[in-house]
């Protein structure tokens, strides 16, 4: 069975590993991890993921920069992006916030159920 590829780009390695485990436990997805923006873009070009979970606040290249580079890259420009952020509240994440207009947003403290639902909706 073909498993959809999810790429997580987040500087919190521990968070990435646990999210990977939880998503993969569903049996429907295969998850790759990048802990900075540059690695994230490189991996995305290589594996061409079905969805990218992207952290907003990161040292160096932040989420907005990464999203902009992905959108300008012919090979991966149509990849759906879900922003993961520690700043917004759940209820704001479910609506469209101004600074990431056009993208889906999800709070980092969302439950695994909410995370899977969000992935399935956008993939």
């Amino acid at each position: 069975m073909y498993k959809k590829r999810i790429l997580i780009i987040d500087d919190e390695e521990g968070f990435c590993n646990l999210v990977k485990k939880n998503i993969e436990q569903t049996g429907e997805f295969e998850v790759c991890i990048a802990t900075n923006g540059e690695d994230g873009i490189r991996i995305a070009r290589n594996i061409k993921p079905d969805l990218i979970l992207l952290d907003v606040v990161m040292p160096g290249m932040d989420g907005a920069d990464v999203a902009s580079l992905i959108r300008s890259d012919e090979g991966i420009k149509d990849t759906p992006i879900v922003f993961l952020t520690a700043i917004v509240k759940e209820e704001e994440a479910s609506s469209q916030a101004s600074f990431t207009r056009g993208y889906s947003l999800l709070a980092k403290t969302a439950t695994i159920g909410e995370l899977i639902a969000c992935i399935k909706k956008n993939v």
Partner: protein
């Protein structure tokens, strides 16, 4: 030669001593009261027999005794009115007269006012007093002299006055003067005996007036000082309150700034804990009861920490409002539906005035405020009770200030506003706690049940709407939260 010198010396000393003794004897005599200023036509006052030395002595002793007691009583006066009454009563008690009246004089308005009287009954009231400029009182004030009238009807120099208007026929009228300023007039009227007033009696009245004037001026100054002190105290209290509220407002802003700075750092580890718990929940056997209970506690604690961060973030985001004209009752209704499951054993009453105008508000933020207030009311009634929500338009009687950096957004007097009152029949809030309910992190709920930020956030939201939030409470009876909002000026809405 020496003997002659001694004799001259003795004679000189004797002369000097004699002169000194003579002076000291003169000084020991009681001082004679200064004679009253005689009215211009004194012929109508019958001549009086000269009093004997013994009579004088007895009189002066009695007068001194009286003045001493009068002074003592006067100095204990509690206020202006008290001092006035003390003066008229003293005159009435000491002299054989029917009545004593004291009128005060206001030099700015040129008005005479009846301040106090004794024996002014039996059909006499303030209206029966003649206190115009052409009155006897006016005459005394203008001339600054004591007036003795033995028979008013015979006084030709008072021709200009309407004598028939005066109910008293014999009287002494003395001005109350302090530092060249006339404060009033003391009238002692209608001697009980057939004899006319004596010079001694005139002297007593003048002394009462002199002492009275000093006391009245002191009491007046004291009252003015007390009034000023009370005004200053009130101004100080108002200033203190404003300062406290400004400090509070600054404190909230600082917390907001801090919150937005650390939220990211705190929520990241919370996210890791939540993901970790989710992973363990999937992997641990359903039979492992204790590990699952432990995980449940960890999960709930992480959620609690997250809720605190969310509340803190509300401060930093408080500057952003999405304002739209809304009907306040639809916001109340939708907020109420969100807490419906919590309303166990609670009877809800809605009192909504018909045709309420729209208000310019951020619906989501205001919903947050109402939910907060509803939950507080519900938690205050654990055994059930009554929740009343009353919304209406009101015209403000006086101007109200919003204590914030946006002071120009105050309510004006007579301004029409929308008021929402949320009242419960719960346990109430003590006076001490009531002062602190808007303080961040202040809560009376148990650990984990409240962050202590609900009301602080609510207050911040209402202030941003240029509105007011007040809470009134009585322990054991209940609490009432009152929200006042401006009515939307857009008539099309």
């Amino acid at each position: 030669m020496i003997i002659t010198i001694f004799i001259i010396l003795f004679v000189s000393i004797g002369l000097v001593l004699g002169y000194a003794i003579a002076i000291s004897c003169q000084q020991k005599k009681p001082p004679l009261p200064s004679p009253p200023q005689e009215p211009p036509q004194k012929d109508h006052n019958p001549p009086q027999a000269a009093p004997s030395y013994l009579e004088d002595k007895i009189w002066y002793e009695a007068e001194l005794n009286f003045l001493f007691k009068f002074n003592e009583k006067l100095s204990l006066s509690l206020g202006f009115q008290d001092a006035v009454q003390c003066i008229v009563e003293a005159a009435h008690d000491f002299l054989p007269i029917e009545r004593a009246v004291l009128l005060t004089w206001d030099k700015n308005s040129q008005n005479l006012t009846l301040a106090g009287a004794v024996g002014w009954g039996h059909g006499r009231n303030q209206e029966s007093l003649v206190i115009g400029k052409d009155s006897i009182s006016g005459f005394v004030i203008h001339n600054r002299e004591t007036l003795l009238v033995s028979d008013l009807t015979q006084e030709s120099y008072l021709n200009r006055m309407k004598k028939e208007e005066y109910l008293q026929k014999t009287f002494i009228s003395a001005p109350l003067i302090f530092k060249n300023e006339v404060l009033g007039v003391l009238h002692v009227c209608d001697k009980k005996t057939a004899e006319p007033f004596t010079k001694r009696e005139v002297s007593v009245v003048m002394n009462i007036a002199r002492m009275g004037a000093i006391t009245l001026q002191n009491v007046r100054l004291h009252e003015q000082t007390s009034k000023r002190a009370a005004e200053l105290k009130m101004a100080y209290d108002e200033l203190k309150e404003t300062q406290d509220k400004l400090i509070q407002s600054e404190k909230l802003k600082a917390i907001g700034q801090l919150a937005s700075g650390v939220a990211h750092e705190i929520r990241n580890p919370i996210g890791i804990i939540m993901q970790g718990v989710a992973y363990l929940e999937q992997t641990i056997s359903p039979e492992a009861k204790e590990p699952r209970e432990t995980l449940s506690i960890v999960k709930e604690s992480a959620r609690r920490a997250d809720r605190i961060v969310i509340s803190l973030l509300d401060f930093s985001k408080a500057t952003k409002l999405e304002l739209h004209p809304e009907y306040i009752d639809s916001i109340v209704e939708s907020s109420l539906s969100l807490v419906k499951t919590e309303l166990k054993n609670i009877e809800v009453t809605r009192e909504c005035q018909e045709g309420l105008p729209k208000v310019l508000v951020d619906k989501n933020k205001l919903t947050q405020v109402f939910i907060n207030l509803f939950l507080n009311a519900i938690h205050a009634m654990p055994g059930g009770g009554k929740l009343t929500i009353h919304s209406f338009v009101k015209q403000l009687e006086e101007a109200r200030n919003i204590i914030d950096e946006r002071l120009d957004n105050s309510f004006k007097a007579k301004e029409k506003v929308i008021v929402v009152e949320i009242e419960d029949t719960g346990i109430g809030i003590s006076e001490e706690n009531l002062k602190r309910i808007f303080d961040p992190f202040f809560t009376t709920k148990g650990p984990g049940k409240g962050t202590g930020l609900g009301l602080s956030v609510s207050r911040n939201i209402i202030i941003m709407h240029k509105g007011l939030i007040e809470v009134k409470s009585q322990v054991g009876k209940g609490t009432r939260a009152i929200i006042t909002l401006k009515i939307s000026k857009d008539k099309e809405d």
